[in-house]
């Protein structure tokens, strides 16, 4: 198996590596260019301009108006529109810069009016869409940098990773149809990953802090960056011997520490400095704890499974009372409704109270979830992911723990947005080329993650585009990854059964998506289907969450128990 694997990858991997006589011509560095991909995707993105856009479009338009029309002090106080500014100041500066380029036609169109609900037409749409496309160029630049600086031997892999990211359906769906600036924001994060790969730690810290000051969701990755930089850059464990507590002072490389702290603090200072007297207001905007456990519909994380279980149990116990009697033998009152009556009472309360507002989820059978619990769970799993990094600060470990940190926050976080899956998939793309055994986990996470974005584009006209695009992305990249990645060691430990299961799961995503869509279409015809308004969304989030949770389990297993995988050859 191993033999055939290597032969296979050599013979049929990207042929670019094979043509030795060409490599000697000295054009190696120029061969892996993202230029063609940029032109192609640019054309497609232009065609998507007239497509549907979400309320996020008006959100960003409002921010353009706020930053352009108001003095800096008022940016975080302005609340004419309900779409208040809730990104960190760097992003506000970014919006301000964009707003400087708004041409007169677009101004007249109402792009820069501070109003409750934006009134704008085609010029604004074109301008804002183009601003997304333009700002995304940074992603191409960063990834080209990544390719050009990577090892000649790994260049094919790097090229595949880079193109898989720039062609990612996630960016296409979220940025170019739904409307956001993720491509631009993630390019900064990717820059920090590339810097980490090159062991340029200061640069890594600079990029990460900048990214953080653009979008605070990257805070979820902070533990990993903190430990990585601490261990790799600040601490000096080589030749360290503990004799007394005084020795601990020598453990720390003080110049590095001050350099790092200086850089990080100065970036944070530039970012938040102008708002120093408005910090409390700014922080309430950035961290709105008043929101519910799950977002408007359920992001496919652990809580989706949890509430699905709750729904199933409720129905089950109401239909079959003896299930309840059986359960009460093992679980007692505070964690569990004592009688069927109480279940019915809770159910009616739920129906009367918060049916319209999906903001807060109320569990009927299972215990309620409080924010504190989600934070404890997230931190706990992040800690587990970070500890190995403390012993071995290699790039592989770092990127692995980054992925796991993203996963932990996505799976257990409070008010997680389905778009946050990019936080998992992007680091994972850098990781997956290390070993083929990671591939099935990656396939699960990316396919389920991208499919879980589908409900964002609920209009029928986008259905085929999102399906075709995601499908072809999956086909191309799953196979390219399979061809270019190697099995590093210990094939015997590979459990084939789960791989087959993963394939079955991924293939069944297709009928799932199509069934939900067809049921949706038939709603106009059969009134009974309207009762199951949320059925489609529930199916999506439950099914996708299974994939993502299993991907997390698989990755965690490999991360914690498969030592050879993480060994570096250096």
């Amino acid at each position: 198996m191993k033999q055939s694997g290597t032969v296979d990858s050599k013979a049929s991997s990207n042929p670019l590596t094979e043509s030795d006589e060409v490599e000697n011509e000295g054009t190696t560095s120029s061969r892996y260019s993202l230029w063609n991909f940029w032109v192609c995707s640019f054309a497609l993105k232009l065609l998507l301009i007239p497509d549907y856009y979400s309320t996020d479009f008006d959100v960003h338009r409002n921010w353009l108006a706020v930053t352009n029309k108001l003095p800096l002090k008022q940016w975080y106080y302005e609340h004419t529109s309900q779409w208040t500014l809730d990104y960190p100041p760097f992003f506000a500066y970014f919006e301000w810069i964009i707003s400087q380029f708004v041409p007169q036609v677009v101004r007249d169109d109402g792009c820069l009016d501070i109003v409750e609900i934006g009134k704008f037409g085609e010029p604004t749409v074109i301008f804002q869409r183009l601003s997304v496309i333009t700002s995304e160029i940074l992603l191409f630049v960063v990834l080209q940098w990544f390719i050009n600086t990577s090892n000649v031997k790994e260049r094919t892999q790097s090229f595949i990773v880079a193109t898989s990211i720039i062609l990612s359906p996630g960016f296409l769906i979220v940025d170019h149809i739904h409307f956001q600036y993720n491509g631009f924001l993630f390019s900064i994060l990717i820059a920090s990953i590339v810097a980490a790969k090159q062991k340029r730690y200061i640069l890594c810290a600079v990029f990460y802090t900048t990214a953080l000051c653009f979008k605070h969701i990257f805070l979820y990755l902070a533990p990993c960056y903190f430990v990585f930089l601490l261990r790799a850059y600040v601490l000096n464990v080589k030749g360290f011997q503990f004799k007394s507590y005084k020795d601990l002072v020598r453990l720390v490389q003080w110049t590095n520490l001050f350099r790092l702290a200086g850089v990080v603090l100065s970036i944070v200072g530039v970012c938040f400095g102008p708002f120093i007297f408005d910090m409390p207001q700014l922080l309430t905007r950035l961290f709105p704890f008043s929101r519910g456990l799950t977002h408007a519909y359920w992001a496919p994380n652990f809580w989706a499974i949890y509430s699905f279980t709750d729904k199933v149990l409720t129905t089950l116990m109401l239909k079959l009372p003896y299930v309840h009697t059986l359960a009460t033998r093992f679980i007692s009152a505070p964690f569990f409704p004592a009688t069927i009556k109480e279940i019915q009472k809770r159910l009616s309360e739920d129906n009367n109270g918060t049916k319209g507002l999906v903001q807060d989820v109320y569990f009927i059978v299972l215990p309620q979830i409080v924010p504190k619990l989600t934070f404890i769970l997230t931190l706990f799993y992040q800690l587990l992911a970070v500890i190995p990094l403390l012993f071995d600060p290699s790039f592989k470990r770092f990127i692995g723990s980054l992925t796991l940190c993203g996963m932990a926050s996505y799976l257990f976080g409070w008010h997680v947005h389905e778009k946050a899956i990019m936080l998992v998939i992007i680091p994972f793309s850098f990781l997956v080329v290390c070993d083929r055994r990671l591939l099935s986990s990656f396939m699960l996470a990316s396919s389920a993650g991208y499919v879980s974005l589908f409900p964002l584009l609920y209009e029928n006209q986008d259905f085929l585009i999102k399906c075709f695009y995601t499908y072809i992305w999956c086909v191309i990249y799953f196979f390219s990854f399979r061809k270019t990645t190697k099995l590093s060691s210990s094939v015997e430990r590979r459990i084939f059964f789960f791989d087959r299961l993963a394939i079955i799961y991924i293939v069944s995503l297709l009928p799932m998506v199509f069934t939900v869509q067809i049921l949706n279409l038939l709603k106009g015809r059969y009134a009974i289907l309207q009762k199951f308004e949320f059925f489609g969304l529930m199916t999506y989030s439950f099914y996708c969450s299974i994939g993502i949770v299993s991907s997390w389990v698989g990755l965690s297993w490999l991360y914690n128990f498969d030592e050879p995988l993480w060994m570096t050859n250096e």
């Binding site: 230029w35 192609c40 065609l47 006209q461």
Partner: protein, 563 residues
């Protein structure tokens, strides 16, 4: 299959190297890869190894479907223009009447408001689409009350029907055609798929079908099926497919002389004299499929049966509508600037003259096919014949350019750069003549994106990138690998005369676009830019047609490898 293809690929690469050093490699036993050093080549290059080739087909088909979907997001003809709307409303209206009215009323119902004027297969197609649509939402196709209905979901549904029809008829036909040629000319698989991608991304068809809204791909796809059957020597099937194609859209009659000559010649002269069984098979197949198509009109027409059939035929050929309607890049419209035909001659005279000119135009091609029914002559003959119809016949629409463009575009399978360059030139000019129409539909963005993307993909802009991009970004493997003195930086023929013509026509195209965008036409001639557009289009079509004939004559004694 994969193993068999390995051999020519190796020959190819060695040959490519020698060709590069010697620079001239005119005599090929095995064709050079078409579109070498184009972005399309570079993008599909990673799929070259045998294990990955199957992915290429997926990629090109899905990518072309995605582009079609994305173009479909734009507006359609007649969007929000009451009372008559446009082609979208016409198609929707036909779905409405075919499913609500009995067959004998189809060709009679309210003829003023988009009365059905396409052959019966279109009507049956509309009937099926309408039935499916009504299943989801009966309001879309409610009789009379649904006129001018333009809701988002209806648009999505209609776009979907075009997409599905194209995916059923056009795309498999083209892919099969390309594969057949590739197999018989020992072309590398990746070369085949590159050609297929170039054909599938032909911008005119995408924009008319998925932007403007029509079902041309069905008629064209059936024609390609017919061609494929000719290639495989299933003559009766070819006749059936072609009849179906005519019964979908009468415009495919432009190809009929060639099909007629080919089938006749195959059953009467070659390879043996008077192949009666084959002749009978073709004749019976043709008659039966016509009967099948028109039968329902007769049978369900009651006592008016024959009248019904005649009415449908009468509706299809609207001679009363004049020699041309809108501005179109053909002989009559362009020379009408000087000679006002409608004043000089009567309708009947004009019909006669146009008939004579058309027959003179296509007769040589038909004769060649009659005496040399060779497979590799088919695309040239079809394009010469249909172009003759386009240039000289009666009542031509600007959209009809799609008919000559189909065989021309199929020539993307050629490996000769001189041919490829002219084909891409024709595609650009063809799309350019559609510009006034697309502009009216509000498809400006889609027009530019498709025009530029298709040209860029096949390498028409390759002369720009290596000069203007930093070395780090030099696109793609092939462009990086070719030497500094690589001859072909873009698709232009070798001949200096043609080079000048093509470049000049592109410059004129650009100039007309600039005028159209920024300068108001003089008050006396409000259509001046459109006339200029048509004149340029006509000139280029005519020149191409002449070259096409030259090519047809010079190809007679050659083989499939010289296509």
């Amino acid at each position: 299959m994969a193993g068999k293809n390995k051999i020519p690929k190796k020959d190819l690469s060695s040959q490519k190297k020698s060709g590069k050093t010697k620079e001239t490699s005119k005599k090929h036993d095995i064709p050079e890869e078409s579109f070498y050093a184009s972005p399309l080549y570079d993008l599909l290059y990673p799929f070259r190894p045998a294990g990955s080739q199957w992915m290429t087909e997926y990629t090109i088909v899905l990518f072309s479907l995605i582009i079609r979907c994305a173009v479909g997001l734009g507006p359609f003809s007649g969007y929000g223009v009451p009372p008559m709307f446009g082609d979208f409303e016409a198609q929707r209206h036909w779905m409405e009447i075919t499913q609500h009215l009995p067959i004998h009323k189809w060709y009679w119902f309210d003829l003023k408001y988009w009365g059905l004027d396409y052959p019966p297969l279109t009507a049956y197609h509309s009937y099926i689409c309408g039935k499916i649509g009504s299943f989801f939402n009966p309001n879309w196709f409610a009789l009379d009350s649904s006129r001018g209905y333009e809701a988002q979901d209806l648009k999505t549904f209609m776009r979907l029907t075009v997409l599905v029809s194209e995916a059923l008829f056009y795309i498999p036909g083209v892919v099969y055609f390309v594969k057949w040629l590739g197999k018989h000319r020992r072309q590398s698989p990746i070369g085949q798929f590159i050609a297929a991608a170039a054909i599938l991304l032909q911008p005119s068809l995408i924009l008319i079908d998925h932007g403007h809204f029509q079902y041309n791909s069905v008629a064209l796809g059936l024609t390609v099926y017919a061609i494929n059957n000719l290639l495989d020597e299933f003559y009766a099937m070819a006749a059936v497919c072609f009849v179906l194609s005519i019964c979908f859209k009468q415009m495919t009659l432009y190809y009929s002389p060639i099909f007629f000559a080919y089938l006749l010649s195959k059953s009467l002269f070659t390879p043996k004299l008077f192949n009666i069984p084959r002749f009978l098979a073709i004749a019976i197949a043709t008659v039966c499929s016509f009967l099948l198509m028109y039968g329902p009109l007769y049978v369900f027409g009651g006592d008016q049966g024959l009248n019904n059939v005649l009415q449908s035929i009468h509706r299809i050929f609207p001679f009363a509508r004049g020699i041309f309607e809108d501005k179109v890049a053909n002989f009559w419209c362009v020379t009408n600037v000087i000679f006002k035909y409608k004043m000089l001659f009567t309708q009947q005279e004009l019909q006669l003259y146009s008939l004579v000119l058309t027959v003179v135009g296509f007769l040589p091609a038909m004769m060649i096919i009659l005496f040399y029914p060779k497979k590799y002559l088919l695309p040239y003959a079809l394009s010469a014949c249909s172009m003759a119809f386009y240039l000289f016949s009666f009542q031509v629409h600007e959209k009809t350019i799609l008919m000559p463009l189909l065989p021309i575009t199929l020539l993307y399978t050629s490996t000769d750069r001189n041919v490829l360059s002219r084909v891409s030139w024709m595609n650009n000019i063809g799309l350019f003549t559609l510009w006034p129409l697309l502009k009216k539909d509000g498809l400006t963005l889609q027009y530019w994106v498709c025009l530029l993307l298709s040209n860029w993909l096949i390498g028409n802009f390759s002369f720009i990138t290596p000069n203007f991009l930093p070395k780090v970004l030099t696109p793609g493997p092939s462009v990086s690998m070719i030497g500094e003195n690589y001859h072909y930086r873009s698709l232009l023929p070798r001949n200096i005369f043609w080079k000048v013509i093509i470049v000049l026509s592109y410059i004129a195209m650009g100039a007309i676009h600039v005028l159209d965008a920024f300068v108001n036409p003089p008050v006396a001639y409000p259509d001046l830019w459109v006339i200029l557009n048509c004149t340029l289009g006509f000139g280029c079509f005519f020149l191409f047609w002449i070259w096409n004939y030259y090519k047809l004559f010079s190809m007679i004694k050659k083989s499939l490898h010289h296509l």
